[in-house]
Point group: C2
Chain length 202, copies 2
């Protein structure tokens, strides 16, 4: 129902997701990057974010910097807390997706069950699992934060790929092989996927 009163149109209920997407000229989506430390998740996310922003799209990156220090600052690294960490990130990504944004999440998220739980709360097509892949040897050679060195020295317990498992996605929407392709090529692959699937228009 719509009631026209003076210059303002009144509506029952909230502005819809469709209306926001139409305003933004894009379809809301969660682009869930998963992969080993050093696989290039953040590098590709930042580069993709810029590429989309330059095309006038609204993007946002959820990562350790803005999540672990804020929403999830009361979580530690126990198995339960790691699962809750990913669950909350998934719920926030869902809200951003509903708002019409294209949101990137950049977390190792090593466990299939945790990622699948996020997929389950999302509507079909809203969750785009992207396996950012490079062989462990390559990631360890890159070691941008010196974490593998510390993990090999036993200074970091339960480090994914060294002393804790990484469970590869079985049916990701996309695999970006950063051992084979440049950042530029990976971004091109991702944006081509988004374009083909209709995420960049509304």
């Amino acid at each position: 129902m719509t009631i026209k009163s003076k210059n303002i149109t009144w509506h029952d209920g909230q502005v819809t997701r469709d209306e926001r997407e139409h305003l933004l000229g894009q379809r809301g989506a969660t682009i869930w990057f998963t992969g080993l430390s050093g696989s290039g998740k953040s590098t590709v996310a930042v580069a993709a974010e810029h590429a989309l922003h330059e095309r006038g799209r609204l993007t946002y990156v959820l990562d350790g910097d803005n999540v672990r220090m804020g929403l999830n600052k009361n979580l530690g690294f126990s198995p339960e807390d790691r699962t809750e960490n990913i669950r909350r990130i998934g719920e926030v990504a869902k809200l951003f997706t509903d708002a019409g944004a294209i949101v990137f999440t950049s977390f190792i998220s090593p466990y299939r069950a945790d990622r699948d739980q996020v997929r389950e709360i999302m509507a079909d097509g809203d969750f785009i699992e992207v396996h950012v892949h490079a062989d462990l040897a390559i990631c360890e050679e890159r070691d941008p934060k010196g974490l593998y060195k510390k993990a090999r020295a036993g200074e970091i317990p339960e480090f994914t790929g060294i002393s804790a498992p990484y469970e590869e996605p079985e049916k990701p929407e996309l695999v970006l092989d950063t051992g084979k392709y440049s950042v530029e090529e990976s971004v091109a692959q991702l944006t081509a996927f988004l374009e083909k699937k209709g995420y960049l228009t509304a």
Copy 2:
């Protein structure tokens, strides 16, 4: 640093909040509605959302429907859980604000300390506390969800205004008196505030 490579401009670091705000033509902000049940928080939020959307602004409403069923579904109603409920909502609102959105939160949020904690994590000007006010007698007469009736019958323990306190904001950015003004007038007061303070341009 910016590196130009083929058709894509590469940047160190993420797209900035300023860049997103420029894209959206608005300044990100959290409009924190607080007030008794039946004071008109949701009604005004939805009407304001439509008014801003029609002016081409990106808005989003965080309320019980999309938060209590998702992000905060593992929280109950103990004092600790109520505080954690508001804390998480504040952190999510902060992320939306950083994304450049104008986000409305529509929760009774009866405790001053909880609201002040949210104000503290936000940058100056990002947190707009709006006291949606109507006398208890008016709210109780409206009783849109029949909750006051149940509370008076003792069926709802610790109901704000009846058997639990509501701590009025001491220095809210805005008071909307829905006992005196219509929804339309309240929305006009809010949008005039946002316009005057520069939130609707970037």
